[in-house]
């Protein structure tokens, strides 16, 4: 029985073959889920079965294998659309990852809509993948790039947003959940304000779609981007969701086979959505694996996953804050996602991550692709633990013990 808070991580772990591994003789505690997530047997087998039984190229062949493969690929698209409550499957474009999705919008929508003197709004907490494409776009088009600022707590300062929305804003690109701070931004509210000011919105959902229920119609975002590998799916496949009228008006980024209706010697007529944006042979098996991941997550329940992570995050915050010389970055536990970045006095995160690795605990060290965020907080590199449905309180305990051991071992001051 799966109620809101009734998720059994220990039972779920059995679904993930890699979690049975030992690292340096210790059981693996995989706490790097914001970077990428592990795969359940169902996904691994879906890939394997597809290659063993149904594989062929898609959309063009009339033979049985091609029909089966095409059906499987398009069924995966339908699953994604249903998962995010997109009104139509053809508004779901398969790309390589979140980064590619954002670059596609910057290229195909940005260059045809942004003019010199326009304003593009991002925030101080963005991942580099939702920042660099807009820096380039601003440089190329002569638009101005402005930043919504953060509060000391690591939330977005909505007063700053309102001020910046006064100008000629064409686009607001922001993250739903910060991959460093765990902050959950009030996306619906921000999108509404942006629309009132006449701007379009791209939502970076890389850290939200895998962890909580997300409804693109309720949010009313114009574009949304996320990756399969961060939600128990394979690498090499991600999603750009877009409102149909926007996608229909956008030129493709890549051209070639698979995205045309007719080709002549001097010009071609593009295909309809979604094929227009899926030139060449796509990641077919990966799409099928992605569909299996969505099935798995739906079965576990996104509400249950979200409740479980919030509980772990609250516990981790509580335990880390009790540890002397440890500073946790970001807002308090209430409503925060399962991402916890922290700094340990006079211990470099590389060394902390190394020591934790010897205890079998996997965390991340560095800037987590968010250098401006770290600069805002006056921070050097940080350590980051991030949780998912298969993590346990016991693993949080091992994390904290590892921090304490490292402090004892490496507590030299320079």
């Amino acid at each position: 029985m799966h109620t809101k808070t009734n998720l059994d991580p220990v039972a779920l772990r059995a679904d993930f073959p890699i979690l049975a591994r030992e690292i340096h003789g210790k059981p693996l505690a995989y706490l790097d889920n914001a970077a990428s997530t592990q795969k359940p047997r169902a996904v691994i087998e879906a890939l394997s079965e597809f290659y063993s039984v149904h594989y062929s190229n898609i959309h063009r062949g009339v033979h049985t294998l091609s029909e089966e493969a095409t059906a499987a690929y398009e069924e995966a698209r339908d699953k994604v659309a249903a998962f995010i409550h997109a009104p139509k499957s053809r508004g779901v474009i398969f790309v390589r990852n979140t980064t590619e999705a954002i670059n596609l919008v910057a290229y195909a929508w940005g260059r045809t809509h942004v003019r010199p003197g326009d304003r593009i709004l991002v925030t101080e907490m963005e991942h580099h993948s939702n920042l660099l494409p807009w820096q380039w776009l601003a440089q190329e088009t002569g638009a101005e790039l402005s930043y919504v600022s953060m509060t000391d707590e690591g939330r977005l300062d909505l007063a700053s947003l309102d001020r910046l929305l006064q100008g000629p804003v064409k686009l607001v690109a922001f993250t739903h959940i910060s991959n460093v701070l765990g902050t959950v931004n009030p996306a619906q509210e921000i999108i509404a304000r942006a629309h009132t000011a006449g701007a379009r919105v791209l939502l970076d959902a890389a850290q939200s779609v895998p962890h909580m229920p997300v409804d693109v119609e309720a949010l009313n975002c114009d574009f949304m981007a996320f990756s399969a590998h961060k939600m128990c799916g394979p690498t090499g496949i991600g999603v750009l969701y877009g409102k149909l009228e926007l996608l229909e008006a956008m030129p493709p980024l890549l051209s070639g086979g698979g995205m045309i209706q007719r080709v002549g010697r001097t010009e071609a007529i593009w295909d309809d959505l979604p094929q227009k944006f899926e030139a060449g042979t796509p990641a077919i098996a990966e799409a099928v694996g992605f569909g299996a991941a969505i099935d798995y997550l739906s079965q576990v329940g996104m509400d249950a996953i979200w409740a479980h992570e919030q509980e772990l995050a609250a516990y981790a915050l509580e335990q880390l804050e009790k540890t002397p010389d440890v500073r946790v970055i970001g807002p308090p536990a209430e409503g925060r996602s399962g991402v916890v970045a922290f700094a340990v006095e006079s211990i470099h995160p590389h060394d902390l991550a190394q020591m934790l690795d010897w205890e079998g605990v996997a965390i991340r060290a560095g800037f987590h692709c968010a250098q401006p965020l770290h600069v805002c907080f006056g921070l050097g590199p940080t350590a980051r633990a991030s949780f998912y449905l298969y993590n346990t309180r016991e693993e949080v305990d091992r994390l904290v013990e590892g921090v304490q051991k490292t402090q004892k071992r490496l507590g030299v001051s320079r």
Partner: protein, 125 residues
């Protein structure tokens, strides 16, 4: 807890760095940061008769990158420019005396990269 990386000599160099500082009249000077995020090493080298006369480093970073930089300034004392140019990644690992995985290797190799960039720049000018 694993002692592989944090041997006595590594922690010693980290806690008591040798040749820390800068040189006003450096012949070779360069600063690089680690692609694995955030470690920064600057090397200043003064040459005399074609050999390293004095070498200093400054920087900020993890135990491996800082210990490596400190050990490096000692290791290159008296070396000719040709000998500096001939230094390979292997030499750094031997110097450190520990095994580094491919990701962490970047921390240990950082001082060598700084030297290599510094040498290239010095040759141009």
């Amino acid at each position: 807890m694993g002692d592989d990386l944090y041997r006595e000599h590594i922690l010693d160099h980290y806690g008591h760095p040798r040749n820390e500082g800068t040189l006003e009249d450096a012949d070779i000077s360069n600063e690089q940061s680690n692609p694995l995020c955030s470690d920064v090493v600057r090397l200043d080298i003064r040459l005399k008769d074609g050999r390293v006369d004095e070498a200093r480093f400054t920087g900020e970073g993890c135990v491996i990158s800082m210990a490596s930089a400190s050990m490096f300034t000692e290791a290159i004392q008296g070396k000719t420019v040709e000998e500096l140019k001939a230094l390979q990644d292997e030499d750094m690992f031997k110097m450190l005396g520990v095994t580094l995985g491919p990701v962490r290797a970047k921390c240990g190799l950082l001082p060598l990269r700084v030297l290599q960039k510094g040498l290239a720049h010095w040759e141009e000018t």
